[in-house]
């Protein structure tokens, strides 16, 4: 695994259990096959505050940035 990928892996440790669980399932299913561009989108998305991220994942808030749409779609399926 590249260093970039390993760094993003740690960014998936969150303040809210809800996000930990969604991200853990996502990592298991999708992480290894993410291309570099999607990985960068994920890292950008992970800079969000936990409550905002959870609201986007559970659909109660709209996706706030166009580049997050793809990876958010993957998280919503997790």
């Amino acid at each position: 695994m590249t260093i970039d990928r390993k760094r993003v892996l740690w960014q998936c440790r969150r303040a809210l259990l809800e996000l930990d669980l969604v991200l853990a399932r996502f990592l298991e299913r999708d992480f290894d096959r993410l291309d570099e561009e999607t990985l960068a989108d994920l890292e950008d998305l992970l800079r969000c505050e936990d409550h905002e991220l959870w609201a986007m994942v559970n659909g109660s808030a709209p996706c706030a940035k166009e580049r997050w749409r793809g990876v958010l779609g993957l998280l919503r399926q997790s």
Partner: protein, 597 residues
């Protein structure tokens, strides 16, 4: 092997509410302060706190700190230390108003004061009527608090070491604490943080249970480090559980679901709460519901292939009601249980939520241990605050909104004590022992060299299942005794964990193995302390210590009105008295009584 060294006046481990509040006190006093944190400060688990922070401001209803103190002592089932409780309740208004001045966006009344709402267990006039004591920022109180404190720390030049994991406490031959060793995740290097004062604010260890509301970062790092350094852990048998966490996930299903008409059912579809609480049924108090659920599961009436959960049924409610009143719950149920509660019931289990015990401290935030006949002798250079510490204000059971208050009051108090101790010359930079980093380096070398070892994931799972089964919300003598044997076996396995990835940079597998070292100490302390306490008190409820006229609620003050101390070395137990005397001479103690609501 040489290890890099950094020197500070104070090093704080953990950047949640308690760590940030302590850091602020130090940095604003001009001390050179380092804060080590595994994740970015505003990603600490304090973010998850919704309810609010208790303070007897009296903005919405008449209130005073004496009433708050009474509620807290009673809530603790008289195991809380009354000096620390008085201190916390008296300081509440001050720390809340300070936070307001730091820019915390509290909800407001029409006339601009901090709005306060009622919360369970908080009362007016010594239990006479509910009181509005909780100060909140919508349902994001913890989040808003962390942001306010973080910004203020940046202004005060606190130095943050983000994505660093503290590994071990450094003590010298006198037992004084001289700092910590820590691992920088980005490089994989170990470094010594040498300081006059070390403050632990690492939060709870709720991840020792299979079903837990705690985020993955809550691995009790400070508690584990303290135990390995020979500090006893206090009252670790007391854990607060919430009755309805999603089975297998832990995410909370709010009490509001039962308020809307949700019914708990066992494997045969029976509404079992009718047998346990004929009047209130599913709306009985948290502990009654949790115990009933556990009894159903233990007696083989649980659901699913392993018969290890019960069902929360709202399928009889109109879909429009669910969509309108409980949208978040439907989302959580679909997301984490894989069921739409409109069509199918939700699998739930009692779920671990909060650690009442921890590193023993006094109201000044000093870590205290028995020494030369004195039960609360301060360890020079060592302080703790927040969920990792046991002051003890929550005793055997914590009241809602007292946790955020705890971390503000004792975070600040620990900071103040350090500032004072340095000012009067009680603390200096003592020389580091030559072997300061050896224990940490040996742990890492062991992981590097381990072959044919155990999987971190498998051992962690075994620990969580053992704790859930043997030391859950309702406790049985036989299960606890078996649990002691079982957890010691798991602890043996934890000494042989192996990681496949031996790289240094961003090695999360290594971090998880080191976290398990901390969790397992907490698990042992909990199981052994729980097995030994032969009464029921607060959150520690034993089947063989029921409510009788001689022992109301199963509580036995003659034998068990005392704090447990568990020492890692030899799994030894000791006890120390509960402080029943308040801090001030003119404050009357809250006399022992049966805890009823």
């Amino acid at each position: 092997m040489s290890v890099a060294k950094r020197t500070f006046d104070a090093v704080i481990v953990g950047a949640g509410g308690a760590g940030l509040r302590a850091a602020l006190q130090l940095s604003e006093a001009g001390l050179k302060t380092a804060v080590l944190t595994k994740v970015f400060p505003t990603r600490s688990h304090t973010v998850a706190a919704q309810g609010g922070v208790a303070a007897s401001l009296g903005n919405s209803t008449e209130d005073n700190w004496h009433w708050h103190m009474y509620d807290t002592v009673k809530g603790s089932d008289w195991l809380g230390d009354q000096d620390a409780i008085e201190f916390m309740c008296r300081k509440a208004n001050e720390v809340v108003v300070e936070l307001e001045h730091y820019g915390m966006p509290f909800d407001r009344t029409d006339n601009g004061k901090i709005y306060q709402r009622p919360f369970g267990g908080h009362s007016q006039n010594y239990g006479q009527a509910p009181v509005s004591r909780s100060c909140a920022a919508a349902d994001r109180t913890g989040h808003a608090m962390l942001h306010a404190l973080y910004q203020r720390n940046v202004r005060a030049n606190t130095q943050f070491f983000v994505e660093w994991m503290a590994l071990d406490l450094i003590r010298d031959a006198d037992g004084d604490v001289l700092g910590v060793t820590a691992l920088e995740m980005e490089t994989g290097e170990v470094c010594i943080f040498h300081a006059k004062a070390t403050i632990f604010a690492t939060g709870g260890a709720g991840r020792i249970y299979y079903s837990s509301t705690n985020a993955f970062i809550n691995t009790g790092d400070g508690v584990g480090m303290a135990a390995r350094a020979g500090i006893p852990l206090e009252d670790m048998e007391f854990w607060q559980f919430h009755p309805t966490g999603v089975a297998g996930a832990g995410v909370l299903i709010t009490e509001g679901v039962r308020g809307e008409g949700g019914i708990l059912r066992n494997a045969s579809g029976e509404r079992f709460m009718e047998r346990y609480a004929p009047n209130l049924k599913d709306l009985a108090s948290r502990d009654v519901v949790s115990r009933a659920m556990t009894t159903e599961i233990n007696e083989g009436r649980g659901c699913g292939p392993d018969k290890d959960y019960v069902l929360l049924d709202i399928t009889h409610l109109a879909p429009e009601t669910i969509m309108k009143r409980l949208p978040g719950i439907r989302e959580i149920s679909i997301q984490f249980a894989g069921v739409d509660p409109i069509k199918e019931p939700i699998p739930v289990v009692p779920t671990c939520h909060y650690q009442m015990g921890g590193i023993p401290t006094n109201y000044k935030g000093q870590v205290v241990v028995p020494k030369d006949g004195e039960p609360n002798s301060p360890v020079a250079g060592f302080y703790a605050a927040g969920e990792c510490a046991c002051a003890s204000v929550h005793g055997a059971n914590r009241l809602g909104t007292n946790s955020l208050l705890d971390l503000l009051v004792f975070g600040k108090s620990a900071g103040e004590t350090v500032v004072e101790d340095i000012a009067v010359g009680n603390l200096s930079l003592k020389p580091l022992p030559a072997d300061a980093a050896d224990a940490s380096l040996a742990r890492i070398a062991r992981l590097e060299g381990q072959t044919n070892g155990e999987s971190v994931h498998e051992v962690g799972l075994a620990m969580r299942r053992t704790m859930q089964k043997h030391a859950g919300v309702f406790r049985f003598d036989g299960l606890l005794k078996e649990g002691v044997t079982a957890i010691l076996e798991v602890a043996e396995r934890a000494q042989r964990t192996e990681i496949k990835d031996k790289s240094k940079v961003w090695n999360t597998a290594r971090v998880e193995a080191l976290e398990l070292d901390n969790l397992i100490e907490v698990a042992k302390a909990t199981m052994i302390s729980a097995e030994a306490r032969k009464e029921s008190r607060g959150a520690h409820v034993r089947d063989d210590a029921p409510d009788t006229p001689e022992f109301p609620n199963g509580r036995n003050d003659n034998e068990w009105l005392k704090h447990t101390l568990w020492y890692r070395d030899g799994n030894r137990l000791d006890y120390k008295p509960v402080t029943l005397k308040p801090l001030s001479h003119d404050v009357d103690p809250i006399a022992l009584a049966k805890r009823t609501y």
